[in-house]
Subunit: 392 residues, 2 copies
């Protein structure tokens, strides 16, 4: 007898509490175990179409064009760099950590002239600094990392977008939302965001392997009015646009084979995000509350030991993850190991300047909305792990 | 209670008999439903490492370097074009169908000067023609599609490689094996193939979403001695090489998040291909025998009606798929539809010159090795479907 959705319960495992990949539901995993389907079958096309429609809801956009392409989140940078800039054009990268450095690197690979506007680790450039930079030079695009996974710093997406629109209305606004989509509010139309770059394995709560991006009508016009050819084949939006339009109409089309099973999983997760019992507004509110509570409890337990969040201001701290400096005398790998022994998987450092000095927790998606008790488990294990590490 | 490997049986579904994606085993789907894991967890790293080791066996290479990257098979063309050629260098594309045209297009996108050597639809360039072309000009790379999914034409991989090595030993030999790896014999070391491009969803029998490529030591040297920077970020082998080396040693490393669940699925399938009860040699033999039998039975049933294989010679016909012209009076969509009504999913045409005149069947992987009775089901349904279409 075959396995049914209701009989499928995922295998026992350690609680995954890194800032992505995140815990996913049984429904999503069951969808990922869908029997093989042709990518051009009439049964699969509407599933793909649904994903596109759901993504529009998640991003609060009516005319934004989502793209679902097999790849890592990183592929989204190539899509931006190869399609929305031409060699020699200028880009302003607001840098709040590792992912700012790397995005800048990607833009330069395709010939963009990049200026970076940074801040000390844990901080973010102020809107005044953004305004000043935009007044000093003309940029084809401005990029910012909504949540930088290496620092847990949250950018003021709405404020940045308002500043760009006021000071430099032609500049395309690119929001790197790999670690933000579906855990942080992003109002693509209202805020006039031109590009959202994301992936499946964070707030969207699906296994990794899908690059998810969305373009505003303005970004599509920039794409359409390029003077030079797009210097990439797979990462070419012009090749993917008719495919997305066709699938959305329910008609399969082919450029390169999509990750069929992950798209079934994506549909299952997006359906529950958009049409589930918790509204999108409540989802974002729950992430805010969960982050606040997690950090308060964490500090109540560990603050006196010298732990300190990397993000230097509460309004500049992500709602789906937290990065925390460990005090002198506690080795991050020992703490990560002690937590793993207690069934909790957290992440070590990533930012080059502080790599060996901090740890990172994820608190997004399923662990916030469906199973808020996950945070209690993490904190209980932390208490125990801290004892073990201190007495070792 | 959680679902276990032995209790998981994939959902009932139509038999997928297109030339990829193909049917996959319950074990592979169960692995694809693995609970969320960190891509840098010590438990995941050896799984990734095993995939690399197994791929070497499948390709009969000791020192070839496999790369497993989230993406479609198509991404492999970008990897070749962006990394192993520099703008202005020449490439010779042996064209046996749609995938030759498209690979050429990709190479040109990155600035290569491409010459194509084709043949009438269903045929393949002769080794004499290849030799003559190589003597006329100097090519940095030669590419060929081992099995062109649009025509079912099989290239003589060994013969082509011998010719290139003899006539133009510096030319890199690129085998596009998306529809060939694990269903056709490929002896990377013995035949001195420099690059194999593949994907998860065909002979490898895993859901789509993973680009699989492998480079010879010679190709790695070409990569290493480039004079110009690699014009891509995600599709940059130099960024991925240390990641692959690290995972193979069992140590996680990060450049972009791999498709963790698909890699569990890949491990499950490659393990059964490499270490299962059927040897690799027997696997290839079984594909040859199954293809021969399928085409004989098909022609016995339908040959007198005017069906005809697209591949014009038996030695130039793939062992994992068959493309067949339908006779006047039979509409391919009607036949595809009639088969779907009978639980069998086959594919329509793809090659631009004959698109509306033919149909395609897949017979590779699970349907050949684990469940040879799939072919009987297809042929029985075909008989019935043909009656229905003729009498309609």
């Amino acid at each position: 007898m075959s396995t049914t959705a209701s009989s499928f319960k995922q295998a026992e495992h350690k609680l995954l509490s890194v800032p992505g990949p995140v815990e996913v539901t049984d429904e999503v995993l069951f969808a990922n175990a869908h029997p093989s389907m042709s990518h051009v079958s009439p049964a699969f096309a509407p599933v793909f179409g649904d994903c596109l429609r759901y993504l529009r809801k998640v991003l609060y956009t009516e005319k934004g064009q989502p793209f679902i392409i097999a790849g890592s989140g990183t592929l989204g940078w190539d899509l931006v760099a190869a399609n929305l800039l031409e060699a020699g054009q200028k880009a302003l990268v607001l840098n709040t950590g590792y992912f700012g450095d790397a995005f800048a690197d990607c833009l330069e690979t395709y010939g963009a002239k990049v200026d970076q506007l940074g801040a000390p680790v844990g901080g973010r450039p102020s809107l005044e600094e953004v305004e000043a930079a935009l007044k000093k030079d003309k940029y084809a695009v401005l990029t910012f990392t909504h949540v930088d996974t290496s620092t847990g710093v949250l950018s003021d997406a709405k404020g940045i977008a308002e500043t760009v629109r006021r000071v430099s209305p032609d500049t395309l606004i690119v929001l790197d939302g790999v670690c933000a989509v579906a855990s942080e509010e992003i109002r693509m139309d209202d805020w006039e965001i031109d590009v959202v770059v994301s992936a499946s394995q964070k707030g969207i709560s699906v296994p990794p392997g899908v690059s998810i991006t969305a373009l505003s009508q303005k970004a599509l016009k920039v794409l359409d009015s390029r003077k030079t050819p797009i210097p990439a084949y797979f990462a070419n939006y012009k090749r993917w646009l008719p495919i997305m339009e066709s699938y959305e109409k329910g008609t399969p089309a082919y450029f390169a084979t999509p990750s069929v099973n992950l798209i079934y999983a994506l549909e299952a997760s997006l359906k529950s995000i958009v049409d589930g019992p918790v509204s999108l507004e409540d989802r974002f509110k729950m992430h805010k509350e969960a982050a606040k509570k997690f950090r308060e409890e964490f500090m109540r337990q560990a603050g006196k030991l010298g732990f300190k969040t990397v993000a230097t201001s509460p309004e500049g701290a992500a709602n789906g993850m937290t990065a925390v400096y460990v005090p002198e005398g506690v080795a991050p790998p020992a703490l990560v190991g002690a937590l793993a022994e207690r069934g909790i998987v957290i992440a070590g450092g990533l930012h080059k300047d502080i790599k060996t000095k901090y740890i990172r927790f994820g608190h997004m998606g399923v662990s916030v909305v469906e199973r808020p008790s996950d945070a209690d488990k993490i904190l209980a294990a932390l208490k125990d792990a801290l004892q073990a590490v201190k007495s070792a």
